[in-house]
Symmetry: C2
């Protein structure tokens, strides 16, 4: 049988989503497995088994290759390097492409970080279709980014380019798990929103539904906002303001046509988008005031990452 | 005669430097003309005359093309767009490539911004030889930047990419001629150094040779530092610290192998380099601590810009 299919794998802190994809970007079969294992080898074995099963299920003998998007995945080396959200790789370098390939009779495996995979997905099939210069910002547990310049993904000298979640949003600001202070990620990720909630509840006496919630998550803040809770809405507005200030600093770098938001937090966009765009345009140098679009991913979230990862494998 | 020569033109606030360059990067003839004219047409006429003269002087019939590096030069359109330091273009868009070409019988003219020209010069002939990912920061009257990703200059969606001088170094900081506050340029350019001097003299009682100087320039600060003036040295150290903090924010974007400093202020590097590197490594996320080189241009300053501009024309 002709090899006209690849697998796209999107690895996250909770689950890995696997899809078998054809050249047109149709996902023919899917499977989700947990990533919550302590041993890398255990996870890689289960992943390779799942890929084999899916391949057989849809009557294929073989695949053209496998593309993987993973936190701190490195395109040049195929390694996953010290991610904070994957138990089996925490503080370690996992030779992921190599190990997975071994378990699949030497099949070609290409790795990149999850935000880069999302950027490729958006470019080929989503909101960035037809664009040559754009930035995808992933707003999930952390903040990641995939940068495209002149139609090509920016990998950088060492393959780690696009760590915009770890640029400084607030000088001497919140402690980040990365060891620095004030990283964008500590304000504008799901966990950042939760931290803002805790801070605002402590610092003000504003009545809020959130005062009754233990261990506040960004979902709690969203639910409260949906019920008209003013403090919850203020939390998102603050998040948008910080994002906009930082986007104003990103734009002069690569002069993107658009910045595309991706990930769980975009569900709350109606509560932060206006503040984001206003503060971006207020803070950016005159050349780009009112000129850079802020869009939201046009793809189903897990699809974009699967499709982006799969595109690596062609 | 075979057309194996191009002209490289480096346009600055005071002068334009013109060179006739062969394929190996040898500058065969040079000329410097003033840029201090009020009418764009006047300057462009004098420039085209100078290029014609140089061509005849070295016995050539014609050139292969002309590459121009200019403040706010746009690679895509060939325009010079609202530069702050060129009298004949202030607040205007000059169709520079078009106009110059007209005066030279339709010869091909390629324009880019001066920092981009410097980056190309460094890549082909200077400190970035052999590198594929680096950033050139020009420290002159202003702060400019040329960004190279995977061996290619980043122009961005609109041709204006690389305005890192107008990213925010200090929130609500110094007023910048661009209209924003706290731009890197207001701290780390020659004028920024002079502003720091004025501020430090006002805020402290530290004795300093600079207290006797009227209308302090960065050259005065350098001269004082050379005489061991402690305040002058402190001014450069502060400049280095701010630069390092901001470089720490640039690195996660394109993961460069090196950041290369270029321009007049690099003469004072012994007074700010240590602080720059320390603050860069202190503030950058762990992936790049101690890993990104900070180099100084290996080319004669005017040569790099002429050579870089000329390289556009091949």
């Amino acid at each position: 049988m002709k090899k006209n299919y690849v697998a796209g794998v999107d690895i996250g802190g909770q689950t890995a989503k696997i899809g078998i994809v054809d050249r047109k970007g149709n996902i023919l079969a899917r499977k989700v497995i947990s990533t919550k294992y302590k041993e890398a080898d255990k996870f890689i074995t289960l992943l390779s088994d799942a890929i084999k099963e899916l391949t057989v299920d849809i009557g294929l003998d073989n695949l053209n290759g496998i593309g993987v998007g993973a936190p701190d995945g490195n395109y040049y080396t195929g390694d996953i390097v010290e991610p904070t959200n994957l138990m089996w790789a925490k503080g370690k370098t996992i030779h992921f492409a190599n190990e997975l390939s071994k378990k699949l009779s030497g099949m070609r495996v290409i790795v990149t970080n999850d935000a880069n995979a999302a950027a490729i997905g958006e470019m080929k099939y989503g909101a960035a279709k037809g664009m040559k210069d754009f930035i995808v910002i992933t707003l999930g547990t952390g903040v990641g980014s995939g940068i495209v310049v002149d139609g090509r993904l920016v990998n950088g000298h060492d393959g780690h380019a696009g760590e915009l979640g770890h640029t400084c949003a607030v000088k001497n600001g919140r402690e980040c798990p990365c060891g620095q202070k004030g990283c964008l990620e500590t304000y504008c990720s799901a966990t950042g929103v939760a931290r803002t909630a805790v801070e605002m509840l402590e610092k003000t006496n504003t009545p809020s539904l959130l005062r009754k919630v233990k261990d506040i998550t960004s979902k709690d803040v969203f639910d409260a906002a949906e019920k008209g809770d003013k403090l919850a809405i203020k939390i998102f507005e603050y998040t948008g303001k910080i994002m906009g200030e930082k986007f104003a600093d990103f734009i002069p770098f690569t002069a993107p046509e658009a910045i595309i938001l991706f990930g769980g937090l975009t569900h709350a966009r109606k509560y932060f988008m206006e503040q984001l765009v206003d503060s971006m345009n207020e803070n950016v140098v005159f050349l780009w005031k009112g000129k850079v679009k802020v869009l939201v991913s046009a793809l189903n979230e897990s699809d974009a990452a699967i499709l982006g990862a799969s595109a690596l494998a062609w």
